[in-house]
């Protein structure tokens, strides 16, 4: 089971956190602090796994961003490593060659997409196409609602003129 997902920039800025096991705010901050210290200092040609407090953290660096997932000791590390990559590919497809800036200004999108990929710390969907379709459907729902709201406010505006 994945206990949490972290996206941390090379400078140690947090870009996304998702906790599937209960951690209090204080614990969350501590985890992030500790893991940033461990992972950001690792050299480039090392393996993608670190032991951490009886758990394992699988991480991978994409440009300036580190994607980290914490799992149990006996979970399959490579499987998780490829879930990370799967997520990155979906982000890439959605944003069109994703970069850190996309994730900063559209951090909520990163959360939506992650929710279509993982629930309860387990993989929910392995088809990129399906995830893309579902996210597009959500976007259009939001858009429609906005248009409706606009048209209603127009009507009200005109009526009260």
């Amino acid at each position: 089971m994945i206990h949490f997902v972290l996206l941390i920039s090379r400078q140690g800025k947090v870009r996304l956190t998702k906790w599937y096991s209960p951690y209090s705010q204080k614990e969350r901050a501590k985890v992030i602090r500790e893991l940033s210290g461990v992972i950001l200092t690792r050299g480039p040609k090392l393996c993608n796994f670190v032991d951490w407090r009886g758990f394992k953290v699988v991480y991978k660096r994409y440009a300036s961003l580190y994607f980290c997932m914490c799992i149990d000791q006996d979970d399959n590390e490579l499987e998780i490593l490829e879930i990370i990559h799967h997520y990155v590919e979906i982000l890439d497809r959605y944003f069109g060659s994703v970069c850190e800036l996309d994730l900063i200004f559209n951090f909520h999108k990163a959360y939506y997409i992650l929710d279509e990929l993982l629930i309860a710390g387990e993989l929910q969907e392995s088809s990129k196409k399906t995830v893309a379709r579902l996210i597009a459907a959500q976007d259009s729902l939001v858009e429609t609602a906005k248009e409706q709201a606009n048209s209603i406010s127009n009507i009200i505006a005109q009526a009260t003129k």
Partner: protein
Amino acid sequence: MAMHGMRGLSVFISDIRNCSNKEQERLRVDKELGNIRTRFKNEKGLTPYEKKKYVWKMLYVHMLGYDVDFGHMEAVSLISAPKYPEKQVGYIVTSCLLNENHDFLRLAINTVRNDIIGRNETFQCLALTMVGNIGGREFAESLAPDVQKLLLSSSCRPLVRKKAALCLLRLYRKNPDVVNVDGWADRMAQLLDERDLGVLTSSMSLFVALVSNNHEAYWTCLPKCVKILERLARNQDVPQEYTYYGIPSPWLQVKTMRALQYFPTIEDPNTRRVLFEVLQRILMGTDVVKNVNKNNASHAVLFEALALVMHLDAEKEMMSQCVALLGKFIAVREPNIRYLGLENMTRMLMVTDVQDIIKRYQAQIIASLKDPDISIRRRALDLLYGMCDVSNAKDIVEELLQYLSTADFAMREELSLKAAILAEKFAPDLSWYVNVILQLIDKAGDFISDDIWFRVVQFVTNNEDLQPYAAAKAREYLDKPAVHETMVKVSAYILGEFGHLLARRPGCSPKEIFNVIHEKHPTVSTSTIPILLSAYAKILMHTHPPDPELRNQIWAIFNKYESCIDVEIQQRAAEYFAMSRKGDALMDILAEMPKFPERQSALIKKAEDAEIDAAEQSAIKLRAQQQMSNALVVTNQSPANETPPPPVNQLGLVKMPSISSNLDHSSADQTLSVANGTLTTVDPQPPSADLLADILGPLAIEGPPGAAVQSEHNVVSEMEGVPNVADGAAIVPVGEETNSLQPIGNIAERFHALCLKDSGVLYEDPYIQIGIKAEWRAHHGRLVLFLGNKNTSPLVSVQALILPPAHLKVELSLVPETIPPRAQVQCPLEVVNLRPSRDVAVLDFSYKFGTNMVNVKLRLPAVLNKFLQPIPVSAEEFFPQWRSLSGPPLKLQEVVRGVRPLPLLEMANQLNCCRLMICPGLDPNPNNLVASTTFYSESTRAMLCLVRIETDPADRTQLRVTIASGDPTLTFELKEFIKEQLIDIPVAPHGPGPATPLTPAPTPAAAPPASLAVQPTAANDPGALLAGLL
């Protein structure tokens, strides 16, 4: 990509990015939070759009690491918004900001439920996702039926059903009772026929969790899993979008193979054959390719296949194929594969017959110890530790020693502990062992616990041949310019005792030895000085003919310390001084220490316990996952424990000495409280008991048996236990540790101990001690919880809640909200057993101390065996009954492997402790045990249970259990219970009762008994008592 026009949010994010330092950022954040707070105060004026915007901002601020302690209500309230955009934001922000223990979440349960049972598919998805991510126990109880309905519904689309599957998985993890085993096997089998791979992937995760708890119920699903694997791995029959770099859903393959590892075997030959074909194909057909992702995905599958092959205990040929593959992996350049190769080789050590093949790779593994990557070095160390035996110990330990000088700091502690354990366990000869430990102290003295050097002293004292060698070595080390204090202690002790054996060698006259020890004197701490004083006294005694100059020098030192503020030092100085004036009388009093009784090393015992834990986890992977998640929950709720603790199997090997002394202490503590009869007083008994235990724990290694006998020299004999002052120092780290809110002692061990006896401590931390006393009569039980406040200020907001399993009716009387300082309250608890089950009731206990909210979940020892009443059965009664219960489900038989090897007598003891009465003579074969007992519950009433255990004297790790009773559930539960007892043996029964010999360890020196942590006589030891009062 547009932000859906949320300009305010974009501007805020830009502002934050433009902050040049942390201080500016904080100011900007504070300003924003202030703004949001005011806007939320007059909520009426907020449009849904604004609310949404502010809630997003809150999440962003939270993500930056700032405390956002308001506005949770607003986020939660968005969930009930009628429109999708607001609802979506409400759900997602709530699930990020809050965790399952948050009160606000409860308010949302109804809204969430309405969304789940409503007709709107998109709302269903949002609700399922949130519950799946942060749903807690209450969600489990109120929503599980609705979620199940969605998962099984034929009218729901896959996008809802896959979410429902994982949502149910979460709820099941929070409360396993929400999935009723009876009906579920069929439904699960049906789910595994699913064609949609999204739903199938999610369902497989759910299945892994279910089967890990109870594989028996899901046998029918086994062939389906094999079929899925066949479809993916062999036929490659999946839609294009579900292949990942050309591999048919690697994740589903991995999950399926994981599920198969929870079935003990595969009996159907056809299924087995098909599975092995697939596995063989995976093992042979996985090539290393250029593309990293393809490589990773295919190796994810390959490593899972390896694990499955190991689990199924395949034919030797396939096993050696696996080892060969791993051998290839540990030498490749790709670091991930190297890491996994080492890790899996370590797992492989569990399989018999392959150790010798693994040894062929020893050189390569040792090379990995110098890998640039610390993750890989750690795996190499684990593997070397695991594969070490008598044949290669010398090589491996010397390699570790060599590596120790260059190893990075993060690894030194673990490294030195492992080296010490291996050296003791597999020493080819004792001088080598002494040499290794001295080297360890020299190179990594900070990490050498007292246990380790006590052990050296013990060996040296007990082996005359070793004494000159050890003394010479000690002398050598003291010549070094910078010597670790531990080295000073051990050298001073050894030279004091045996330095005279070196007398004829150059540089080893009493005077010279004294000088070389005394040179270190200015640098040592007070814990070492008593040892030095004893050494001086002994040197003085061994000086023939007397050397007045040396004598005066030593007397001056004694004189100086006669007014020392440290009582121990003062007393020693005064007494040695007085005694040394008596001349020859000194000879008798300061004679050489008598031999120590043979006993098992505390270190090895710890290591072995840890190994048993580890073995249990892999042998019956059962509950492993669950335990893990429980651990997380528990730590999470006590704010002082900020991060999850390492799982049990890490204990012992990588622990700081101070913590390990805690272990001794917990068992000693329990023993003491039992010795005191009941736990009626909290003050002042427990604190002093603690201190005593701390001292007595390590002291167990010391305390020569002769000491107590020499009654006429009572004072002196107690002083001869030289290092016991050093032990006094052990209080310090323990005391410090209690300041942070760690539970004292091992909760699991306490629970296991209480499963076998009826009173003792259930839980203890620096503030509170929870004792328990129980009486059992037929299917009724009456427990009393003793809640003792250990402090001088009251404990408030005390809450105790019982989470009973379905088969127990538990009633807890009112628990007062406040426990006054230093007081103890008693809370009676009535238990009625409705039917046989091994499930355990949980006590959810919380209190507040100062600002700390502490919450722990404790298993209550109202377990199956408490409702047993041993009953003797004669042959005339036994055999007709045994025959009449002819087969399943009333009589069940199972071959159990991975049993902890025990002498038969001890196994009988073990069963006796569980209230099963051994009936000797009924079985003609002396290797078998027959036992009988009566089980009481409301549904079964009193029911006779018969047990037969057949052991194999040639292989004590396996046995066959047969259980018979008039109730199928009872038979099954009792069988599982006995299995648990034999595989997982709680720490040897402490306290009253015959000392049970442990199985002899492989070293000649380490021998039973081990439970000597507290000898009753030791409690009378005035020195110990004195120290206890300090």
